[in-house]
Amino acid sequence: MTALRSDLAIIAREVRPHARILDVGCGDGLLMAALRDTKDADARGMELDARDVATAVARGLSVVQGDADTDLADYPDGSFDYAILSQTLQTTKRPDLVLDHLVRIGRQAFVSFPNFAQWRMRLAHMFGGRMPVTEQLPHSWYDTPNIHHVTIDDFRSFLNERNILIEGQWFLSGDKPRNERFANLLAEHAVFLLRRD
């Protein structure tokens, strides 16, 4: 099996066995397959890209082609143990509404995103005077799918406003875990486990 991306590996490790899971923006289903095979999870997915959906379904996964911005409203409250949104938040039109749905549908929610305040981003912006193009965010400003960049501190303050509780948080530099100190400056990726208050 292909090794999971490091943020997905954290989620795969933390999920309780036998959980019901909705993976929003599941791609071709790598995380879902890992959760099914290692945690006996009942995993469902949503993905915008038809080819990815076809690959995931051919893998035997239950995935529907859909858009996080419009199609989450159909899922009943608390219908999953976990709703997962990995590397997708920054691509949505209304991340605030998507997050509201996430903590409504899942009793808990995993959210991972690239941290736009990481020092490389800041340097690129401050000294380059250009939109950052990095290994993690390789797109140019005009063709990036990432239309709502967010920093760890932005995210925390949003959670605070919405009364969403943080039940776990993990930070990454490259593939390496790092602690919470100066995460907003030093972490390239963040993974949060959330619950609606």
Partner: protein, 373 residues
């Protein structure tokens, strides 16, 4: 199972029934024409029911006795295909109301010795499914590994899952809908009126005389347009003329598309009964899976353990993607295990009958995942 005469090609059987119909009537006895491919395994867990579309039949993977053409879904069903007789016991049944050997308006009414014609009861998609369930009982098949169908076949597959959830482990619904829209009904009504306006129709009592072929051909022509896409028609025919260099300034088939449609209409009447066309289109028009649940489609699938796989095609305007999405939303609300994908094809509704490697890849993966559970 090789000695079991219930299984094999070109089978016919009559069952006592009755089928309890949505209209309140009962229908008995019930005749079935069907085919099976592949053997039922020891624990009877590998049966797959294929449901055909409006003018389809049981010849899903074997040569059609009238047209001599290959089975209508030989791309999906056959050796090495996603639905494979080496692995599955495949059952394909001519639906009730049709004209390829199962009970329909052209069948003989045992009480009169003459064809039923308009005395055949008006039936629904659910009635067709109830009849199919009788035949499966006769075959000794309690549980279906899967029910698979495109277009009207998808309606039957959905109805199977809704009526007999404990008998259906997986359902594959392709290019289909959970209800007929006003536009769907409208096109069917044009077809029915064309048949009934043909003087040979004679209120359905034409058996033994000339059939209302002109009306049925027009019905087929109108319907055939809905199976294609504008882009597909443009690509195939454009405004090109048929075997001539200039317009005739008459009403001959000047354009290739006219000639094509006329051919579609004329070849159809050789293999299909006009009254069956009336009855089956009526059944499709009456189809609304949410109706018995006060419009809440999710309730039709409440508590279901069936796995669902839905596929739509982006150029299908007969049963557009939005209809598949509506079903998926209901399945999500019901907590069902559902997969859905919209595939890209220029060929409109008929895409599901054509070469579609992505569709085969999805169906194959979906069925295999069900088999490994």
């Amino acid at each position: 199972m090789h000695e079991d005469t219930r299984f094999g090609l070109d089978k016919k059987t009559q069952l006592l029934g009755p089928v309890l119909l949505d209209s309140g009537a009962q229908f008995a006895p019930v005749e079935f024409a069907y085919e099976t491919y592949g053997a039922l395994n020891a624990d009877k867990s590998n049966a797959i029911l294929i449901c055909h579309a409006l003018t389809g039949d049981q010849y899903v993977a074997s040569t059609h006795p009238v047209t001599g053409k290959a089975g209508w879904w030989a791309r999906m069903v056959g050796p090495g295909k996603p639905i494979d007789p080496a692995r599955h016991c495949i059952i394909s049944i001519n639906v009730m109301g049709s004209c390829m050997g199962s009970s329909g308006p052209a069948s003989i009414d045992p009480t009169t010795g003459a064809p039923y014609a308009m005395a055949f009861p008006v039936i629904t998609i659910a009635d067709m499914v109830r009849a199919q369930a009788l035949l499966l009982n006769h075959l000794g098949i309690d549980i279906l590994e899967a029910v698979v169908g495109g277009s009207m076949g998808g309606m039957l597959a959905l109805s199977w899952a809704a009526l007999y959830p404990e008998r259906v482990r997986s359902a594959v619904i392709i290019a289909s809908t959970a209800r007929h829209s006003a536009q769907n009904i409208a096109f069917h009504e044009v077809g029915r009126q064309a048949i009934m306006a043909d003087p040979r129709w004679n209120n359905g009592a034409y058996y033994g005389h000339e059939a209302p072929s002109a009306g049925l051909a027009v019905a087929r022509m109108a319907a055939h347009i809905t199976y294609l896409s504008e882009a597909g028609l443009t690509e195939k025919f454009g405004r090109r003329l048929q075997n001539r260099d200039a317009k005739s300034f008459g009403f001959d088939a000047d354009f290739q598309v006219e000639s094509y449609l006329r051919h579609q209409g004329l070849s159809f009447v050789d293999r299909f009964d006009a009254n069956s066309y009336l009855y089956i289109t009526r059944a499709m028009d009456y189809f609304d899976l949410a109706e018995p649940h006060d419009g809440a489609l999710a309730k039709a699938f409440a508590g279901t353990k069936t796995r669902f796989c839905l596929i739509s095609f982006d150029s299908d305007w007969l049963y557009p993607t939005a209809e598949s999405r509506r079903i998926v939303h209901a399945l999500n609300a019901a907590g069902a295990a559902a997969s859905f994908v919209e595939l890209s094809s220029p060929f409109g509704h008929d895409a599901f009958l054509l070469e579609a490697p992505e569709m085969n890849r999805i169906v194959d993966g979906f069925l295999r995942a069900g088999e490994s559970q």
